[in-house]
Structures are given as C-alpha cells and as structure tokens.
C-alpha cells in the first residue's frame, strides 16, 4: 500500500511497488489525461509533476514515491498552466493532440521556473516531448505567447 497525494487528494494505492505511476493514474484512478506513448521515457506523453518537477510517469515506480505530491493534466491549475493552456488554444497547437498533455506539463514546468524563456530554453525543456504531428513550430510560439499572457 503506497500513500501519496494525487491532484490534492490523499490516495492509498494497493498495487505492486514496481507499477509505473502512469498505469496507476490511468488504470486504477481513471485519470486518463496522462498518456502512454512509449513506456521507456523517450516521448514525454506521460509527463506529470512530482513535487513540482516534470517527470515521466512511465519511469516513476509507485513504490519509490510514497508521500509525494503528484499533479496531472487532469487537475493542474496554476498561473503558468492556465497561460499555457490558453496559448495552446489561441494558437491552435493540437492536431491529433495525443502528446499535448505531456507537452503542456513540460511547458508549464518550464514557465514556472523560467517565466521568459529563450528559444533555446524552449528547445531544451521541450526536447523530450515528441509530437508525431510535428506541431513544434506552434508549440514554440505558444510558449512565448503564454509567457506574455503571464506578464499581463
């Protein structure tokens, strides 16, 4: 039994300790906003915030994070996340959209840390998030736009 906080709610999770957080979220808690893309930490579709930091939930074993605070796309609501989500819609970023939960979680972590990122900051912070529709040009623009929205 692993105790931790997910989206502000205390949870007791009764699964094998080697179960990735990703599958606890998706299969056990029905929080499907976090996506399965590669299972190897290579695509970023499963990105969540663990104690405020962007991590790959497919590489985060539930047994290793007892007592942690997890936030997922399903519930994130900070100044940075709101700006990112608004910019994502304004610039019509998503196509198939399947990677965008992870993109948004990574971009939110970036803006929280670096409110005015340079183009290089964006490429560095978002380099682990794959988008097969190649919405990258709009992702770059939307992160800059979100930075503007946060200032306003």
């Amino acid at each position: 039994m692993t105790q931790l906080k997910i989206n502000g709610v205390n949870q007791s999770i009764d699964v094998e300790p080697d179960t990735p957080l990703l599958w606890v979220l998706r299969d056990h808690l029905d929080l499907t906003g976090t996506k399965f893309g590669c299972g190897e930490g290579l695509c970023g579709a499963c990105t969540v915030h663990l104690d405020g930091e962007a991590v790959r939930s497919c590489q985060t074993l539930i047994g290793d994070i007892a007592g942690s605070d997890v936030t997922t796309i399903d519930a994130i609501s900070t100044k940075a996340s709101q700006a990112i989500q608004a910019a994502w819609q304004e610039l019509q970023v998503p196509q198939c959209g399947y990677c965008q939960s992870g993109q948004i979680m990574s971009a939110t972590a970036l803006l929280t840390e670096t409110p005015k990122p340079s183009p290089q900051d964006i490429d560095d912070a978002m380099g682990g998030n794959v988008c097969r529709c190649a919405t990258y040009a709009r992702i770059r623009k939307a992160v800059h736009r979100a930075a503007e929205l946060m200032e306003a």
Partner: protein, 736 residues
C-alpha cells in the same frame, strides 16, 4: 499467418451494406423513423465520444446534424479525425450554411453505417487519401442548409409568419416582429418538416466561416487531457485487458510456451495461443505487459520471412539493373536520351518506414451472441465491420463501431484487412466469454508490427539537349506492391501494375515528351501499407531531385527550368512562383547554407517548398527555414491548411533525416523512439505557409505537404555541398 478475409468483393460489400439504396430515400426513411418515435428524441451516438458537457439526447434534424434542447449543434462526422482537422472542417461546412455560432458547434463521430456515411470517393465508410473535405464539401453544406431551412420552417409555423421573413444568424432564429428563438426550442419541430429534395446553398460571398479559420472543435479537450477522448482512454465495466505476443518474424507459427513466470504476476489471468500470437489476459494494462514479458514462446520459423533488409536491397539492386514491366510510357525515351547532350543518372534507395503515431494501436471489443461492439479510432469502418462480422459469422450490420478520436494515424489505422480489429475479434473468440476486452499495443508492438511504407529502389536516367531542354526520361522502380492481394486491389492494380508504386512519376505535368516508367514488384513477406502521401513519399523525392540536377546540368536556375516545363500546369507553376518569391529565392545566403526547391502535386493539391539548410561541422544538416505555397482549391480553413502543411513538412523531414526500419534475419531491428528516433522540437525549422486563393473545388491537405520536403532539403544540401543524398535516411551518409 492470419485468418483474415483478404479479398472482399466490392459488389458483395455494397449488397451487404445496402449501398445501392439511393441516399435520398434512406434519408427520408430516417426522418420518418425519428419523427415516429414520439417527440423525435433519440439517444445520441454514445456519450463517450461526445464532447464534455454535451447533453445525452439530441434531435436528428438530418443524418449529419443533430440539435439538443440547449441549442447545441452536433455535426455527425463520417470521417475519423486523427489530427488532420476533418472534424473541424465538417463543422465549418455545416455551421456556415446553418448560420450557427462557433461556440454551439460540436462534433460526434458517425456510427458504422456505409449507407448513410460512406465516403463518396470510396463508396464505403472510411477516411484516407486526403479526401475528407473533397468528398464532403457539397454534402455537408447541404446538410447545414437543410437543417437551417428546417429551423426556418419550424419557426414560421410556430410564429405563424411567412418563411421569407425569418432570419438566422449566429445561432439565433428571429423575425422582424421581435420574436426570436435559439435552435434548441425549434429542434423537435424542425426534425419533422418536409423539405425539398435540393436546398439552395450560399454563394461564396455569403460564407461566414469558410475561408476564415473556424477554430478547432477539439482544441480545448486536447489542451486539457479531457477524459474519454481517445480509444486508449476507453474503459467499460467488467473489462478484461489483453496484450498479444506476436511472432518476431512475419509468417512464423506458434509452437509452445512456458508461462510459469507469468503466473506470479499480480493481475495475470491467462495466456492462450490465438491466430496472431499468444494472447495474454490480465486485470490491467501493466499486469498484461509484465506477464507478457515473463512468457517464453517457441515459434516455428519454417515458413516465415527470414531475410534481412540488406539482402532485400541487394536483390532489389539486381532487379534495378534488369528491364521490367512497363508501368507507363509516352514518346520514346531511349531515342530522346540518345540525342541528349548531357545526361544525369542516379540510383536511389528508400527504407521501410513505420508510421509511429503517438497513440499506439488500441481497441476494445465486446462480443455477444448476435451483436459485436467495437470502440476504436476506426479509419475504414466498413472494412472493420465486414471483416469482424466474417470472423463471428455475423452480418456486417451486427457489428457496431463507436469511432473515437485517434492520436495520429498517417495511414496506420486504415488497414485493408482490418488487421488490428480482426485480431481483436480473434482475441475475443479465444477468450470465449461475452466480456469486453481492451487490447493495447506497446510502442515496440507498433514499431515492430509491420504495415510499413515499402522499401524502394529507383534507377533513373534523364537528359537535356544542347539548348538546355529536357530530353528523355527513363525510370525504373523496384518495390513491393501495397495493394496487390488486398480488398482494394481491383481499384488500383491493373495488369499487375500497382499505380501507388509509381504515382507522381508518369503522371507528372512537367512537359516531358519522352518518358518510360518500369516497375518491378517483388514479393516480400513484410506487410506494407500507405504511409502519409503513399507513393508520393518516394516518387516526389526522385522526380524533384532529378529535375534539379538536370537544371544544374543545363546551367539553368532551378525555378526557371521548372516553370518552363510547367507551361501546361498553371496551378503548379503558381505555387512554385509564390514559394520562390516569398522565400527570397536567388538571394545571397550565409556561408555553409544552401537553398533548395521542390514542387509536387498529390491528392489533387499543389505544394511548393523552398528549404534553407545550414550544414553542420559534423557533416549533418540542420533545416533552418521552409517556405511553402499551397493550392488546395477553396481554402475551407486556412489555419488548418497551414497546420497540415507545417505538420506534413515535419513528418517528412523526420523520415529523411534518420528514420528507417531494417531487418536482420527477418526480425525488425528497431523497437522504440531510441532506435526509431522521431523529429524533435530542436529539428523543426521555421515554417511559413502561403495559400493561393482559389475558387476551385477543395482538394486534399492532410498529405500533400509531405512529398516536397525531402527533395527540397536534398536539393539544398546539393546546393551547399555538391553532394547528392540518394540513400535514405541521411544518417546513411555524411555531408562533411
């Protein structure tokens, strides 16, 4: 290996699905039926596929438009939206004619029912070939206009005023007397109105949304991780999870297994052999994966494809030296080449490519005695329905498909033999109980799963005469036929020649007087499939790099040389001129940079792209800027056109830079995004997309952005380095 129904006779299919029945009659029948159900209220097509916040009951005003009591408009999409924006496109067409407001319009996917929801370009229900807008442009506008007229008639009857005095604007129906109503209050009455066979459509000057970038109907859900969006998110009570351990080589047969270790995996239920591999059943996805990894399986490789891709290439190279069946011929290429002052000869090699959509394949199936329900991002509903029905010995109409949003496809979900749906049917039979089963593919299952863009070799010789004009083109292609042996064979393959293997060559609109295309179609046991832009994914590369080299041989500017060859194709010439002009073609570049151009027509759309590259010290290339121009007829949604061209460029660029599927002794070497490394944000160039204004009928946009990027970049590399990247991907050769 697989017990699929591979050859479906189109006439049987039509008969089974009632396609001969005139659509108008079907529609009247549907309206009558819904009118007879009391208030005209019917249960919507499934809550799970509906956007968040939608009501569960709607009134079908016609087969494409439903309106609920709150006034929300649900456009029923016959097409799968896998990112290409067709749902928004169809919503735009309906909303425009209906004079709905942007906010009130939502999209639901149609049930599998070819009689009502067939793709007019296919004759069956399905999405592909960049046909969604082209085949729906009139149909969905008519649906919107008919719904509007029905609302007007309802309001006129309710308010006892002439129809001609009723106005509809931004989701409100009103009369000069001050009476007004939203759509919701009129919906039930609207559904029972008698309408004329033909409803007048707006003229282009009256359009309120077409041509003006209607916002994506899915942007909000996809920016917030909304539940129950994709097939991967689907869940239903009492559901069993399954994964399939498929054989490591195509054509291998199951011999035996040892599941001792799997039995200690918490949540593991059972493992049983099925027609496509060993099916592992579990309580949840992770347990299924873990148990599958713990099972040892023995396979019989006696009849499997055991060759390596190196061996295949070596056989293809031999074939490329031998004359083959003529796929296309006009004029006399040999004589013209004999007269040429200068010639260019080149041999190109293209690898297998995986589609690798972000959402790996997934499907949920629930088989009952006389009814099968499927939930998935179905791209060829009619084929899925037909094949699954065959496996259960049912009629197609007993197979119900709820189409969910798909996290990409690029062709992978449109499968001629219903591959993964058929597998789900077999899994369900192997399970034996009437219980919902969700099958998830891992990324490795996806990358190793086949259905690739085929490998190809092209060997070309072309010449220019003393005046610098093109003189003779001989072109030999070697590669597997995608369509032979499939349910679509009769549409595409003539006398053993698969048109999709050479499309974009013999049908070029370049003024080439003497041209011969030969095609070898070797049989290989690796399943292949259409991959974003199908044949154009390799033919455009060859055509456009060859033309570029010929221009160079003739001492001519690459754009001028092409324009001279395009005197009979003004639309293609226009996109080329526009891209050249907007890119600053001919301007000075920094040292180490190169600029290249390519123009190609595919899916009836014209796209030109100018790429600027910066050569790196390590011999690799960085694409810094791409300027594109596109003519796809009436630009229904300019922002989505730009998005599709941006994405098409990125998709093609990732492939030419470093993607290849290789086989060692019949086994795929790649498995995940470390060995099949996708384009990442740092690789993405700045992209500008310019749209040519047009009143022509709308044509494709999901695919046409992809073909020109490879040759544009290759031509830019040649301009910068003098090197010809003829073996793909670029990682096979350096440019240092």
């Amino acid at each position: 290996m697989l017990n699929f129904i591979d050859n479906i006779d189109p006439q049987t299919l039509a008969r089974e699905l009632g396609l001969e029945q005139p659509l108008a009659q079907t529609r009247r029948g549907f309206l009558k039926l819904s009118g007879g159900a009391g208030l005209g209220l019917v249960v919507g097509f499934g809550v799970t596929a509906a956007p968040a916040g939608s009501a569960e009951t709607t009134v079908p005003v016609n087969r494409f438009v439903e309106i609920d009591s709150e006034g929300l408009v649900f456009v029923i999409s016959k097409h799968l939206d896998k990112g290409q924006g067709s749902a928004t496109g169809l919503a735009t067409l309906v909303a425009d004619e209906l004079d709905a407001s942007i906010e009130q319009v939502h999209v639901r996917f149609a049930p599998a029912d070819a009689a009502r929801y067939k793709n007019l370009a296919f004759g069956m229900q399905g999405t592909g070939g960049s046909t969604a807008m082209a085949n729906s442009f009139i149909q969905y506008r008519q649906a919107g206009a008919a719904a509007r007229l029905a609302l007007v008639k309802a309001a006129a009857a309710k308010w006892q005023v002439p129809e001609s005095e009723i106005q509809v604007s931004a989701g409100q129906v009103s009369h000069s007397s001050g009476k007004s109503s939203d759509f919701g209050a009129l919906a039930s009455m609207a559904a029972t109105q008698t309408l004329p066979e033909k409803v007048e459509l707006k003229t282009p000057d009256q359009w309120v949304y077409i041509g003006k970038s209607f916002p994506r109907v899915d942007a909000k859900n996809k920016s917030s991780g909304a539940p129950r969006t994709y097939g991967m998110d689907f869940k239903i009570d009492n559901m069993v999870h399954a994964m399939v351990a498929r054989p490591p080589r195509w054509g291998a047969v199951y011999k035996s297994m040892d599941m001792t270790a799997a039995k200690s995996v918490k949540g593991f239920i059972d493992a049983r052999p099925g027609p496509t591999g060993v099916v592992v059943f579990a309580d949840n996805t992770w347990a299924a994966k873990k148990a599958r990894d713990a099972i040892t399986i023995e396979w019989d490789f006696a009849a499997s494809e055991n060759r390596s891709s190196d061996q295949l290439f070596s056989q293809y190279r031999t074939l490329a030296e031998q004359s083959g069946p003529i796929a296309h011929r006009h004029g006399d290429a040999e004589t013209a080449l004999g007269k040429a002052a200068k010639t260019v000869e080149a041999t190109y090699e293209f690898p297998f490519l995986a589609h690798a959509p972000m959402e790996p394949l997934d499907i949920t199936i629930h088989a009952e005695a006389d009814r099968v329900q499927i939930w998935t991002g179905s791209q060829l509903q009619t084929i899925d329905q037909m094949v699954v029905a065959g496996i259960f010995d049912l009629k197609p109409h007993q197979v119900h498909i709820e189409t969910l949003w798909a996290g990409g496809s690029f062709g992978r979900r449109a499968i001629y033999n219903a591959e993964y749906s058929a597998e789900a049917a077999h899994v369900s039979r192997v399970w034996g109980k009437s219980q919902p089963i969700k099958i998830v593919w891992t990324r490795e299952d996806d990358i190793k799963g086949g259905y690739y863009r085929p490998m190809y070799i092209h060997k070309v010789k072309a010449g220019v005469d003393a005046d610098g004009r093109l003189s003779g083109w001989h072109h030999r292609i070697v590669g597997q036929s995608i369509f032979t042996g499939t349910s679509f064979e009769s549409f595409v393959v003539k006398d053993g020649i698969d048109h999709s293997s050479y499309e974009g060559t013999g049908d070029t609109t370049y003024d080439i007087a003497d041209m011969t295309i030969e095609l070898h179609s070797p049989k290989v046991g690796v399943p292949t499939l259409w991959w974003r832009s199908v044949g154009h994914s390799h033919t455009a590369y060859v055509m456009e790099t060859m033309v570029d080299q010929l221009a160079q041989k003739a001492g001519r500017d690459a754009v001028e040389f092409r324009l001279e060859l395009l005197k009979n194709d003004p639309r293609k010439a226009a996109v080329l001129k526009l891209a050249a002009e907007k890119s600053g073609w001919g301007g000075v570049l920094p040292k180490g940079h190169g600029r290249g151009v390519a123009v190609h027509k595919s899916f009836n759309s014209y796209v030109a792209e100018v790429a600027e590259v910066q050569m790196q010290a390590d011999g690799t290339v960085k694409v810094v800027q791409v300027t594109a121009a596109v003519d796809c007829g009436v630009p229904i949604n300019p922002d989505n056109i730009r998005a599709q061209v941006e994405g098409g460029i990125g998709y093609g660029l990732g492939a030419i830079l470093r993607n290849e599927i290789t086989l060692t002794d019949g086994q795929v070497d790649q498995g995940n995004f470390d060995t099949y490394e996708p384009l990442r944000i740092g690789d993405m160039p700045e992209i500008e997309v310019h749209i040519v204004p047009s009143n022509e009928a709308p044509t494709g946009i999901g695919e046409p952005g992809t073909p020109p990027i490879g040759p544009a970049v290759a031509n830019a590399i040649r301009a910068a380095t003098g090197k010809n990247p003829n073996r793909l991907p670029f990682t096979k050769q350096g440019f240092a």
